[in-house]
């Protein structure tokens, strides 16, 4: 069922395309040797090139170019062996050169595809139009002084990839899924850390609405949205606004807007910031970027397994569901954790534990997959102790909680707490006898055909054994004794 918004005059379809700005993971900037670490003191990571001193020249950073190519390969996109850097000219206090070096006409990466999974179990292909490299600007701080603006040039010249999608997205859910999937791929590739809070990943959201079957109507661009949730909210808020404009007989004007997450609405940016003639032209300080196919092939050969391939493998090799495998591959570290736990064990049991108790413990403790509440090795041992009947599943949950609590090894916890499963048939028989003796009425009912009461006896025997009875042996003993 396609997503639509019901207006006062009927249903509206939403059309969305995204421009995602992803900061390239690289030790130095796109055209200078200055460092790129986040959170450094203001203006401490600025070279004479970044500050646009007279006579300074840009020199392309080979690693940043490799990162763009890796990303293009990861998006299944065309790699352009010849691309070019252009200047985008405009004046602003945090743009030292008076132009941004970008790729306008000839981007390094051409068309590609990203597949997104939706809640109803379906998947959808979102087209990638292009990916290009460009410099970031510095940062203007207008709130530090009553009459002055402060400028931090640490970010000036940092390499960004702008990844432009086709207008293939049709709902807030799809927009969110697209950003999440793109972020996942970038993180797998190690080309962008995807950290939206620090601004390493931000999205410009192009939104328009239309009646089913119509051509595209005028779009508006919502700039600099910095979380997946806000992207989804911005799509909805902007679509509702445009529907309101059309339905009241107005016309949507093409413009640049900002999303205010506090009010949940978009508002126009000052038109001054929108009225640039950027006077693009090829940067005469730089030669065209010419890549060797052999070098591209080398980069391709060194790419890690990406989420889609990994998910397919998890389904084929481990027999996991599409949902569970999707959850496990979303982050590379999670997939690695899962595989460490599943290796040599029952993969489905491992998947249940990772997506169940383990994720719950991670959320509860506020820890991360990089710094997990229980290591993959320890969780694997716990699973082994279940498999070899040292403990049963119920006790395992108790042991797991103790592992989270204390960080101790499951074997040690079991020994210390005396949680080892009882397989001594004498002890089990004794407990069975005691339960039967204490419940003559129920025994009679069971024997007269009330099979459902079997669970009652199992529960009482386990209770009598403090949960440590081997479930198989308890069952067998009860079956035999009850006849």
């Amino acid at each position: 069922m396609a997503y639509t918004i019901e207006g006062s005059t009927g249903a509206w379809e939403v059309v969305v395309g995204l421009e995602v700005h992803a900061q390239v993971i690289s030790k130095s900037k796109l055209f200078s040797g200055a460092a790129t670490a986040f959170g450094a003191p203001p203006n401490s990571q600025v070279s004479f090139v970044d500050a646009a001193f007279p006579g300074m020249l840009p020199v392309p950073n080979r690693e940043a170019i490799a990162q763009a190519v890796r990303t293009g390969l990861g998006l299944g996109a065309q790699i352009n062996l010849v691309s070019r850097f252009d200047r985008k000219n405009y004046f602003y206090a945090d743009l030292p050169q008076g132009y941004q070096i970008s790729q306008f006409e000839h981007p390094i990466v051409g068309t590609g595809t990203v597949e997104i999974a939706l809640a109803d179990g379906s998947t959808k292909q979102i087209g990638i139009t292009r990916l290009h490299l460009e410099q970031d600007a510095g940062k203007s701080l207008h709130d530090q002084h009553p009459s002055k603006s402060f400028i931090d040039l640490n970010r000036s010249g940092v390499a960004l990839m702008e990844i432009v999608s086709e207008p293939d997205i049709r709902s807030p859910e799809e927009a969110g899924a697209y950003v999440k999937k793109l972020r996942s791929i970038l993180r797998y590739l190690g080309t962008c850390d995807g950290n939206m809070e620090e601004g390493s990943l931000r999205a410009d959201v192009n939104v328009s609405v239309r009646r089913a079957g119509e051509a595209y109507r005028t779009r508006c661009e919502v700039k600099n949205v910095n979380s997946v949730r806000f992207v989804m909210q911005a799509v909805e808020a902007e679509a509702l606004r445009q529907i309101g404009v059309w339905e009241s007989g107005g016309t949507v004007a093409q413009e640049t807007r900002l999303f205010d997450p506090n009010k949940g609405e978009t508002r126009p940016m000052r038109s001054k910031e929108d009225a640039h003639d950027y006077r693009y032209f090829p940067d005469p300080d730089l030669l065209p970027v010419v890549l060797e196919q052999a070098w591209v092939d080398e980069l391709r050969a060194a790419l890690p397994e990406l989420p889609d391939a990994k998910q397919a493998r998890f389904i084929a090799d481990y027999g996991l569901s599409a949902y569970d495998s999707g959850v496990l591959v979303a982050e590379q570290a999670t997939a690695l954790f899962f595989e460490a736990v599943a290796s040599g064990r029952d993969a489905k049991v491992a998947a249940n534990w990772v997506t169940g108790d383990f994720f719950a413990a991670m959320n509860r403790t506020g820890r991360t997959i990089e710094n997990p509440p229980v290591t993959a090795i320890a969780l694997g041992r716990l699973l082994d102790l279940m498999a070899d009947s040292t403990i049963n599943g119920k006790i395992a949950k108790e042991v797991f909680e103790a592992m989270v609590e204390t960080g101790r090894d499951p074997g040690a916890i079991i020994d210390a707490k005396g949680l080892r499963q009882v397989t001594d048939t004498g002890a089990i028989d004794a407990a069975v006898e005691a339960v039967i003796a204490a419940n003559p009425q129920k025994v009679a009912e069971y024997r007269s055909g009330k099979d459902k009461l079997f669970g009652f006896f199992v529960g009482n025997v386990m209770k009598a054994m403090a949960g440590k009875g081997n479930p198989g042996l308890v069952n067998a003993a009860l079956k035999q004794r009850l006849g």
Binding site: F48, A51, A52, F53, P54, G55, M56, L57, P58, V59, P60, R87, N89, F91, Y92, A93, P96, Q97, G98, Y99, S149, I151, D277, R279, Y280, F281, P284, D285, L286, L287
Partner: protein, 491 residues
């Protein structure tokens, strides 16, 4: 007089300990003190630093250690950033700018032992053909017309460098050439200058005018001196993406090659209407000298020459409009306050830039703007490709081209000032080399009827400066140009 020696002679004298580097430098500093007030060739004289460098050179020479330029005093065009020494680009906006770095070209010269006497005056941001656009006042040519004491221009934009070399207040000088700014002042001042192939000298640390055209080169008293200087200035620089990763040949040795068997092309399109008859005559004489020296003279055609000037005055301002955007008063340089950011920009740039720079920034902004880009900039780039093809085709048949350097001799200060187009016409023979990236040298070949020097231009294949030097040296030998300007050290 020590200041009368050529660079090669001074170098040999220093090595033979006939005189010391400090004596040589002091002779130049003394001449500067007397003549610079008349010529305004230097905007900054670094006497103390020069003497310290000279003393260090003498220590090295006494120890028998010498680099190619040990003890040689030079003028540095004020477009080259010099560490700790004010670098103005001839502009008010950089009138107090002291770079914390040394340009690659000047660092190469220092590596080879050169001594810097000071920073040479120039047209503002290298935009001009007269040195009248400098924020530090015009440079006066050391030459005057016979029987006429009006002050003449030294040419531009490297007017200070050329005047200093011609007046013997520098032994040689660095310069830059975007549309003729080395060759035209060399021609006007009766000295030698070469714009090498684009990419031969690093642009790193040279204040940019038009990045795809700017190229550094030397001004010197002889072809051999220019070759020696270029040998030190040139070389691959990984800090400049457009720098050529090629070994630097022995340019000085190439000056001794001779021209026997060379094919010299004469482009018919350089025969311009209204060109002074004496320039045409000098051109023919130069070709005759080369023929006598064993070269074959061949008529050739460069059909797109006629578009050269028009396309140059699109491409160069376009790049300049973007290159000069960084002078905004925010981080360094002069600032004129305003009530908001836009006013800060407008006030700073209106105060900081002179009329010619403002004119070119406006032209450049216009030709790049939406709706005009295709008609101007893109078309100019296409014509540029055709101009390069003209040269490529011709250089399949000839080894070098010989033309006049300029359509006229030097003019007086204030002449040609009413119409910028007349001024731009000065570059008509020089811009094609910049548009195509090929090397071009100007060598003094004679005097006009009023006693002013005239130069001939030698153009060569990309990265074949050696042939250019060989042809230039042959013309120099034949011309035996010994005329000296009225204003000069010891004159």
């Amino acid at each position: 007089m020590l200041t009368d020696l050529t660079l090669a002679q001074a170098r040999d004298g220093l090595r033979a300990r006939d005189f010391s580097a400090i004596e040589l430098t002091d002779a130049y500093l003394a001449a500067i003190a007397v003549l610079n007030p008349k010529l305004n060739a230097y905007v900054t004289v670094t006497a103390a630093a020069a003497r310290a460098q000279a003393q260090a050179a003498d220590v090295a020479l006494a120890a028998g250690r010498h680099a190619p330029l040990t003890g040689i005093p030079l003028a540095i065009k004020d477009l080259f950033c010099t560490k700790g020494v004010r670098t103005t680009a001839g502009s008010r906006i950089l009138s107090a700018f002291i770079p914390p770095y040394e340009s690659t070209v000047t660092a190469n010269l220092l590596r080879d032992g050169a001594i810097f006497l000071g920073k040479a005056n120039m047209d503002e941001f290298a935009m001009g053909s007269s040195n009248m656009t400098s924020a530090f006042g015009p440079v006066t040519s050391p030459w005057t017309r016979r029987g006429d004491n009006r002050r003449l221009v030294p040419g531009g934009s490297s007017g200070g460098s050329a005047a200093a070399v011609a007046a013997h207040i520098a032994l040689g000088a660095t310069a830059t050439d975007t549309g003729g700014s080395i060759r035209q002042p060399a021609s006007f001042c009766g000295i030698t200058g070469i714009k090498p192939t684009y990419g031969r000298c690093s642009r790193w640390g040279v204040v940019a005018f038009a990045s795809s055209l700017d190229q550094a080169g030397p001004l010197a008293r002889t072809v051999e001196d220019a070759a020696i200087l270029l040998g030190s200035m040139a070389g691959f620089d990984p800090q400049d993406s457009t720098s050529a990763d090629l070994a630097v040949p022995d340019f000085a040795a190439a000056c001794r090659r001779g021209v026997k068997g060379l094919r010299i092309g004469v482009p018919r399109e350089y025969r311009m209407d209204g060109m002074a008859p004496e320039i045409e005559a000098l051109w023919q004489q130069g070709l005759g000298w080369l023929r006598d020296a064993g070269a074959e003279i061949v008529d050739v055609s460069l059909p797109h020459t006629k578009y050269g000037l028009a396309t140059y005055y699109i491409v160069a301002p376009a790049e300049a409009s973007s290159n000069l955007a960084r002078y905004d008063g925010v981080r360094y340089g002069a600032r004129t306050a305003g009530e908001d950011l836009a006013a800060l920009y407008e006030n700073t740039r209106a105060e900081g830039f002179g009329a010619e720079v403002q004119r070119r920034v406006m032209i450049g902004t216009y030709v790049l703007s939406a709706g005009y880009y295709d008609a101007y900039y893109l078309k100019a780039q296409k014509v540029r490709a055709l101009m390069l093809k003209d040269f490529t085709d011709v250089f399949a048949r000839v080894d070098a081209l010989v033309t006049p350097t300029t359509p006229t001799a030097a003019f007086a200060q204030g002449e040609k000032m009413d119409d910028p187009i007349t001024m731009y016409l000065n570059d008509i023979f020089t811009v094609p080399a910049n548009m195509s990236g090929i090397p071009g040298l100007s060598v003094p070949a004679g005097l006009d009827a009023q006693g002013l020097p005239l130069g001939l231009q030698v153009l060569g294949r990309p990265f074949d400066e050696e042939t250019v030097f060989a042809v230039g040296a042959a013309l120099e030998r034949a011309a035996d140009f010994t005329a000296m300007p009225g204003i000069r050290a010891g004159g």
